[in-house]
Amino acid sequence: MSPRAGSEVLLSVKNLVAGFDTGEGRVRAVDNVSFDIRRGEVFSIVGESGSGKSVTAMTILGLLPTVKVDNGEILWRGRDLLKVSDAEMRQIRGAEIAMIFQDPLTALNPVHTVGRQVAEMARIHQNMSKKHAMTRAIDMLDLVGIPEARKRASMYPHEFSGGMRQRAMIAMAITCDPDLLIADEPTTALDVTVQAQVLEVLLDIKDNIDSAIMLITHDLGVVAGLSDNVMVMYAGRQAELGTVDEVFYETSHPYTLGLLRSIPDLEGPFGQPLVPIEGSPPSLIDRPSGCPFHPRCSMARNPGPCTTDIPELVQIGTTAHVSACHFASEVSVAL
């Protein structure tokens, strides 16, 4: 897998700061996040609950009306999505950037047939006739591996199994050949054998329509198998960003290292102890000073910059691999 340095930059997020207003003040769910996604790549965002990974995705599509963007740009092929009109945004959403959600049962309309919902995409975005759109929908259902697509198209979401529903969601998302597919925990609700099927469908499709995939997940196994580039988020900030090999083998942030050490291996020798990360993720309202990870970090120095200064992303080596740690160069030594 290559970092695909040469291909076209589709999405460029720059210094994005976004949050919600709550009774206790503004919560910064996304804090100064920057990254590029290029055509043909799988870009994964990893993090635990509350790390800001889903909010980042939803903000790109403007899907969360309660999110207030305080700073930054979201450049979609050069156009700032934060400045386009609602009508333009509706054109982009679905046709150019499509989204796959975690729970297909809540994302599908229970009172319409699956075929109609998939066809709707083609009718709205490509002005197809009803009949034409339905043919397209059946083709799409067939493409994502739904057997007897013609018959299944006239069924309702509740008549589908979990894996079939997720396939239907993918069919809907790819109907208009989008350039970017945002998949938010697409397989978390699925059983492992079905997960493997759905992930394979996603990869096939990416190659078929030459798009990019932004994959949001907490599962490092899924990340390892699919990604070209990986961004690790913690408490709304970027911890580390690099190619999948860089992040897994030249780990340069203590949080990434902590995640990798806390999961049991399916193969290695038995009896390897797990190394948990002490404590729990911080509240976004009451952030720790300095590095947000320092209260849980085994490498944090106190007194030292960790408790006082927020670490900026620093380049590791000569590639685009970056880490937000004051002692980034010492992490891979600990590996």
Binding site: T193, Q195, H218, A224, G225, D265, F270, P273
Partner: protein, 324 residues
Amino acid sequence: MTGPVLEARDLVKEFPIRGGVFARTVAKVSAVDGVNISLGEAETLGLVGESGCGKSTTGRLLLHLLTPTSGTVEFEGVALDSLSKSEMVELRQRMQIVFQDPYASLNPRRTVGETLSEPLKVHRKMNSKDSMVRVRELLSVVGLSPEHANRYPHEFSGGQRQRVGIARALVLDPKVIVLDEPVSALDVSIQAGVINLLQQLQDELGVGYVFIAHDLSVVRHISNRVAVMYLGHIVEQGGRTDIYDNAKHPYTKALISAVPVADPRRERSRSRIMLEGDVPSPVDPPSGCRFRTRCWKATEICSEVDPPLEDHGGGHLVACHHPE
């Protein structure tokens, strides 16, 4: 090791499906169909399978939280269905359960101290003061601070709440704890701490675990023996090396190969067995071997004869006509 602490024979659990105007039983689902399981002292038995395979139902049957349709469960040689109500109440102290969602299984209106001390007052006739001493001690055993006794469940994080759930199960010094997806709801960085705690408690207290989970890596890490379930049957059972390094049932092989590992190089070189389709409905399971509809090795005999669990040496049990 003497005999098993917990032994289940031919467990069957059928649930009625009701329909029609008078909600009559129109059909039955066999959620668990002929399961045999034994658990030794201070042993961990992993129970894995996909949703709907009957693993949680099995866990509840083992504790008689659900009454089996047929079959028996013996705890230290005593059959649970032979016990009177009061004898069962006594025995319940020795067999506990930890649920997946600690928030739903703790009373939100009671402090953790109140929840944890109640069993001591009921079963051990302890007074408030003595029970509180024990509760504070327990909280530090599970890695919380004794002061946490005065807090309510909502004041804890997910990982801490699961530690409270574990403390609750430990209050009456059980011999066996059924852990039903105890770490699935937790973030990975928190999971590891709870798994380590469970292992440490087993070393110190000698308690046996039935560990129900869908995460095969976690089960491999914590279990001595593993049973793989599919549509209410155990299809393969054995020591963890039997299952993870030497699986003989096609379903076990497919299941393990489908788990993504957090290592990009290994992921690229791994070959994956892709199963076709989904798990069939347990209402109308396939004839013969229940896995045959998704199995690449299925032949005629598979649709006719349900393969029995056979010992392939050293307690490695496999139910397949064409084992590897």
